[in-house]
Subunit: 372 residues, 4 copies
């Protein structure tokens, strides 16, 4: 079986999450290629060495460019702060490597598009970590929509709300660095926009609104030195889809009390599908035409009829977790690298999502509808 | 005790609902005035006579102007199609009568403002049937906000979604008559905008989007003759509040499967309050600063600590119903008429709500942010 | 239309609740007879006079026996502490009056049976206030079961849990008086047993368990004088039904945090129905044979297809409240008194329920299965 | 680091589940010992070879006794049908091996006790797969109870309901083999009894009820040959705890529509904790003494404050899944084998649970309360 050498850059939340998935995927999902944890790059040698040891990579380096060039690395996996995605991905592509990158892909749609084009020209495959799309219930939702089970989609409402920046004393972080792009609209908005596109298709026009709720933050936890915040804490947009459907999205990292709301409601002429990531194993579905007095939303629990759930557990209702979504993502990457089905979302799709993000910000700043 | 002669115009859903409330209020809530069901006006004599008999009014008439002039009628209660609100209310005001009118108050903010001014000049009291505001949990939510329990409000999201027009074969109705104003944005939007204003204050600017999902409808049930629909089936808007908070509202009467969603989430810097009318006896409240590992949204059930619940039932958790909200509304009207606390929302408030509705429609049509 | 003179004995929570229902029922449900609030009896003249005035009864008395004998009183409505139900009901029956009595009907099944027999021999109608049975969704549940929508019932689980006695400083009350019968098993257990019988039929055998959690209570709020508690605070029982189905019930008034749980789950060979009074407008229904990957419990909201909801409100999802259940109960009583459909549950049914209560207590005390 | 050679017997649902956990645990939870997938035994050579290859074991055998004796196997992991647990475990213990066995541990409490004693005498460690105990929220619940956050426990209600045997055409399976012990009361009841003991302590007396709902089943899917069912499909019991608290449990594998209900409600004098495995990342907690009008059950989402969640994911609300519970279980086993904290539940605890199961069945058959 084909072996894929993994070169991971960055070993924080997402670096660890990817690694757990690379380790879990072969046993759970038996993808057509085997990942080999070849090399890990981090900010300096000690950090890299310690992370490599802890996560199980064979080699460590403080020089990500060395990692990118290393012949044993076939897939460069980028989990660094956003501002670094572009140079790293372009270098990897230039070295002929496939690239797996966390979201948001780039600081701007222009950058993302440049990255997508470079990958296309180099003939390498690209993969973006919009893992919530990998929930088997999202596939079920899409199948229902494509199969006409809810008629024609007329409305989409999406919300991604967390509260990890709600506390004004939460210190400044790289997520607030404008060099990395926009704020919540990019960090969280990219997720909900990816779902909007997945279920309701192309977005052609937006009217956006962004707000910075906490104007300045301590430079470090407990510090009295403050640093101004230049990106949005919350964002909203009205959407027009190519299909003629309309909708809205909202993204906030100051949504006090919300830990992991990724909620959507897709309304069709004959039914409605609703979901919330805080109950990620439940899909709420209404279909018109039920017997009178008996109609209602059904609560569908994930089960073996929602592949690849059955490979995690043969019995329904036992629940997938967050890490399982990453495992599904990684297995799909390995399959694609072994010549299997094309992976989505790739850089080209991420660039289209980023174009929506940029359009929302432009719209908000220029106070007008903006085409995507 | 003061007796208030009620003159009801219209005897449909709302006419009946008001009447049930007038009959229930004295026993349940002991308002400071007694309603007397004096006269009912409807489209023709037989209809009026039959409705008066069924609902318990002493007299019936096909001439609403006679009702308005009748000396025994002190409060003119208007539950007719929207297009008729203005002439009826103005006539009642001209006759020196207090007026209770269903929402949306008028076809436009200009009309509503004219009505409010006329009432003010005539020195009569006015009352608008935005009954969801009367839920004791809404009062609790407002008290929490005013008491600082959730910090400073930074975001408001409101949704009013029903599906009574979702079926394309649902026939054309007076609700679709542009002479009565706009569509879902007025009929349902007025409710959710009233809540937005109640909890988050003045709205100063909107960016709206409206859509007519079902372009034409049968002129009557089962008919093949079709009539074009000129008003919106669904509407959304981004909002900017005077306080600096931002938000959104959505209104739809084609939200397949949703029967009575009036959902909102008010996010503050130190807490969040969420509600859905489909579970109208529950308020979800999160407050920051709970012990680690123990924090979460609380589900508060309506009870005697949420007045006037205790007058309906002394034990918590027993549930109020929709009609109870109307009973609370009517009792507050009777109290106001007896010199008690000023009632809200009155025509002036309804005109401000209608100004938001109009601004959303203008914004949608002109594709720009519009000040309210 | 026939006029029914109402004579109410007792004017507490339930006396008021009945009265509100008598006042609301004619307008909402147009029963075939008109209630006339004729006379109210309470503990002394001033109390009775004040209550009569407040609730709208024409006359007041401190002599309930005078009320019972009064020729203008056709229906004697008993809402006094349990220990008084029997003498009052027997006196009313002896006077040839119809009787409406709150639950639990009597201190023992023997007493209840004696009351039922007396009524039968006297040819008067009897009515027991097990109002939760009047929820239109309970009728829907029963119709589903009778129509075979969930196959053959194999299991019933019922819970009635409140916490109004959870605080050990909650003072001693007449509900704890053994002269009135048992504790939570009677007060709350009668409700859940009535539902068990309504949905799953006759109970033929029980194994019970009772517990007094708070052994003594203050004689009055704030008092340091204590009085021993001789009745149960919580009770449970295993059940065997005549149909062969098995099940359990539980009743507690010390269920900290639970305000109005009346939850049940009826499992059949082809489906399951679940309900909780804390969400009294929702029924959860699962039926076997749904398409694969699409199956789940449906949340049915009360609506016009669940009579008599439509007479409260023509639009679905608007919610009935607790008082509406009493209104439905009272209208059914008035209909029965006017020669309409026989009312259930009557004294005979309440005696069968009380027999279950007694059997549970006997079983618990004698530590053996007891036939009902 | 110490290496633990794993010898797995059986490669079905649980064999695979254990293996996924052994593979995941080192990376996620860094236990103090490393598992080595040494050998797998199954019913015949080809099955064993194929499973070993698929799951990643170095060697395969059709002779489980060879596995037990193999010097490279340090931990014998038994995931076979129940009837085989005892001989396999005793052989492993005799060979001086530590044993990890699925629930229910044995066909009877006598067998389980014999196994526990053998292990104790041999000085080997034992581990039982009651994985739902490993949910971090169960640890939180127990900490709350031990810390007095809900006062003194007065009631426990537990339900384990699934529907995998609800269809009468579901064929006969080893789970129905009386040689393996009882039915749902053992298979599912062991889970809910383990939780009852975990949260409310020793159970000293039970009154049980068991029922076989489907009297006979096809010998294989689609077959017309039928085989009688000799074990229970559903069971219930009233419980008395050593603490004086009372309660009940219920177990059913014919609970149509329920996929993975493991629900409990622990009521204390000052609070209540409720949980349902179908929403395994949520704990419902009520505590007395909240401000008036603000009190309610809190919905606590699993997060980093509930160890070891943070090792799966640093952000709250992202959700653990079923397989993660097994990973936690396996890591705790590895830690215990490396000299870390003693693992619970071991064979001795499982024997106590099995004693409850047996007591329920005896009680049901002999129709009397039975001491445990």
């Amino acid at each position: 079986m084909r072996r894929i050498g993994i070169g991971l850059i960055g070993s924080g939340f997402m670096g660890r999450s990817h690694t757990l998935a690379f380790r879990a995927a072969p046993a759970v999902l038996a993808p057509a290629a085997v990942p080999v944890l070849e090399m890990l790059a981090d900010i300096d040698e000690p950090s890299a060495a310690q992370a490599a040891q802890s996560l199980g990579y064979s080699r460590a380096t403080a020089d990500w460019q060395a990692l990118v060039r290393d012949p044993a690395v076939h897939l460069v996996d980028i989990t660094t702060p956003n501002a670094l995605h572009k140079p790293m991905a372009l270098a990897a592509i230039a070295a002929g490597k496939h690239v797996y990158c966390e979201k948001p892909l780039a600081a701007s749609a222009a950058d993302a598009t440049e990255m997508a084009r470079a990958a296309q020209q180099a003939g390498v495959q690209t993969f973006v970590g919009l893992n919530y799309l990998k929930n088997p219930l999202l596939a079920a939702a899409r199948a229902m929509i494509e199969g006409g089970e809810i008629g024609t989609v007329v409305s989409f409402r999406g919300i991604h709300a967390e509260d990890y920046m709600a506390d004004p004393l939460q210190p400044w972080t790289w997520r607030l660095d404008p060099a990395g792009g926009h704020g919540a609209v990019a960090d969280l908005g990219s997720h909900i926009l990816s779902i909007a596109r997945h279920l309701a298709g192309d977005i052609v026009e937006v009217s956006g609104q962004i707000a910075t709720v906490v104007a300045e933050r301590p430079v470090a936890r407990g510090s009295t030195a403050m640093r101004a915040v230049a990106v949005d804490d919350q964002a909203r947009a009205l959407l027009r889809f190519a299909s003629g459907a309309t909708g809205s999205i909202e993204a906030s990292w100051v949504a006090t009390g919300r830990k992991m709301t990724i909620g959507f409601e897709v309304t069709g002429t004959k039914g409605t599908i609703a979901f919330d990531q805080e109950r990620m194993n439940e899909l709420q579905v209404f279909t018109a035409g039920q017997p009178r007095g008996r109609e209602g939303f059904r609560t569908i629990l994930t089960g073996p009829d929602h592949p690849p759930y059955g490979q995690f557990c043969p019995a329904p209702g036992h629940h997938l977790g967050y890490n399982d979504l990453k495992t599904i993502e990684v297995a799909a990457i390995l399959d694609a690298l072994a010549g299997g089905p094309r992976f989505a979302p790739d850089f080209a799709e991420a660039a289209r999502i980023q174009a929506c993000v940029d359009a929302i910000v432009t719209s908000a700043r220029e106070r007008r509808w903006v085409s995507v």
